[in-house]
Amino acid sequence: MNKLEIHGLSKVFQSQMGPVTALENIHFDVKEGEFISIVGTSGCGKSTLLNIISGLESHTTGEILLDQIPVQGPGSDRAVVFQSDATFPWLTVYENIEYGLKVKKIDPKQRKQIVEELLSLLELDKFSSAYPKELSGGMRKRIDIGRAYAVQPEILLMDEPFGALDIVTREMMQDELLRIWSERKKTVIFITHDLEEAMYLSDRIILLSPRPGRIKEVIPIDFPRPRSGQLRESQEFYQLRNQLRHIMGQ
């Protein structure tokens, strides 16, 4: 069964210099529990696509079906982890993760249980009463992920969540994300411009071509799971990366 279906989606922005077609004829399905990455060069419309799926941005043509129902406006069934820092600085780590549950008026006992489980899953329990400014960028990203997981979305949308992190922290966060994802299967759409990141994480990669953003290629990634750091250094990984880079460059 398809979790998400996108049919004939396009997006035209009205800018001062006239209309800009950011996305054209986007068409793909995402299966329940699938980890899908969308890869493309800067400005090819990745964030636009994600914002449309999340409901923060309107679209020009086409439709987006979540469990066969057209999506309308933002909602916690499609939680987002943004590229830039989006932790609420006036809330503690605990309160940040609790935020969506409170908004949804989940009862306090259940709330406590969900938050505490996530805190320990993300290894943030020691910092539960700290404010985000006291934490590193990587830890803040984990809060964002925990906050999104807490509302138990149907689908998790991630827009270059690790783009601002250094390479070591980024790879650590990728492993972390895979660990959480394997424990709590969630449908994920992950945006990145880093091919290796997409290969390491995903079941499938959708390559976008720029101006206007179109689907160039859909590539299944069959590396067995669970995946670990060794995969990054393997011959197959290296070959696939070169192959994809070649396609992207065309």
Binding site: G55, P74, S76, V80, F82, D85, L91, V103, K133, V151
Partner: protein
């Protein structure tokens, strides 16, 4: 250690100021008529402290009343404006007209309309604080980072929740800043209003003292009102630190 050193410099500047005052007055270079020395100051404290405190009391009630009403009104109207495009479009010209008016310039009008008394004086403070706070409130709401609002919406918050759980906490640092400015301004405004027309209050007391060439009384009034303004500012700073422990400014 470094912090200590810097504190010493601030302390030193106060000492030097007091030193200059003592030197000028004790040496007789400046007559007590123009600048009273420590002896005159001590005398006036012992003889007129009751009067001064009574007048200060009147002033404080007006200042505090005007400051609280003006700031609260500024916050409430500011939040209303920022919550709705139509209210904003309606109120924007009114604020743009009020904003550049120097508050002191409306004193003659207030006296003409309402005579001399507590009401016009308090209204002046209300006006001054209102304009300061409303402008900052609207600005602060506009500056709430979009990403927090978007994040909240994708976590299930409706517009009302966004306003309550994102906008309100996010603007608190700017609001407290504006309230601090308003509190500072309110002391100046209330005294100015009392200069122009009053039958009690520290400003009135100072005008009378000036008429009788009682520089010592004027100096004492200045010291007391400054001390009060300073204390108020300190109190708001403590409140600010409490309320904005999370903000980047205090790390």
């Amino acid at each position: 250690m470094k912090k200590m050193n810097i504190k010493i410099f601030s302390f030193l500047s106060v000492l030097i100021l007091i030193g200059i005052w003592l030197l000028l007055t004790l040496s007789g270079w400046v007559k007590p008529l123009f600048l009273p020395g420590p002896k005159e100051l001590y005398e006036v404290i012992t003889t007129s402290y009751k009067d001064v405190f009574m007048h200060m009391g009147y002033t404080l009630i007006r200042q505090l009343g005007g400051f609280v009403i003006g700031s609260l009104a500024g916050i409430i109207v500011g939040l209303l404006i920022a919550s709705n495009r139509y209210i904003e479009a309606f109120m924007d010209p009114i604020i743009e007209i009020l904003r550049p008016i120097p508050p002191l310039a409306i004193i003659p009008l207030l006296i003409l309309w309402l005579g001399i008394g507590a009401l016009p004086q308090m209204l002046l403070v209300v006006f001054g604080c209102f304009v300061i706070v409303i402008v900052s409130t609207v600005e602060a709401v506009r500056n709430v980072p979009r990403i927090y609002i978007n994040a909240a919406r994708t976590l299930g918050a409706n517009s009302f929740s966004v306003y309550r759980t994102i906008v309100l906490p996010a603007i608190i640092p700017s609001l407290v800043g504006a309230i601090r400015v308003a509190a500072g301004a309110s002391f100046g405004l209330v005294v100015a209003a009392e200069f122009m027309g009053a039958q009690e209050g520290i400003g009135y007391y100072m005008i009378i003292a000036q008429r009788y060439l009682r520089t010592d009384m004027i100096l004492l009034s200045i010291i007391i009102i400054s001390a009060l303004a300073w204390l108020t500012d300190q109190a708001i700073r403590i409140l600010e630190r409490r309320l904005t422990r999370w903000s980047e400014r205090h790390s």
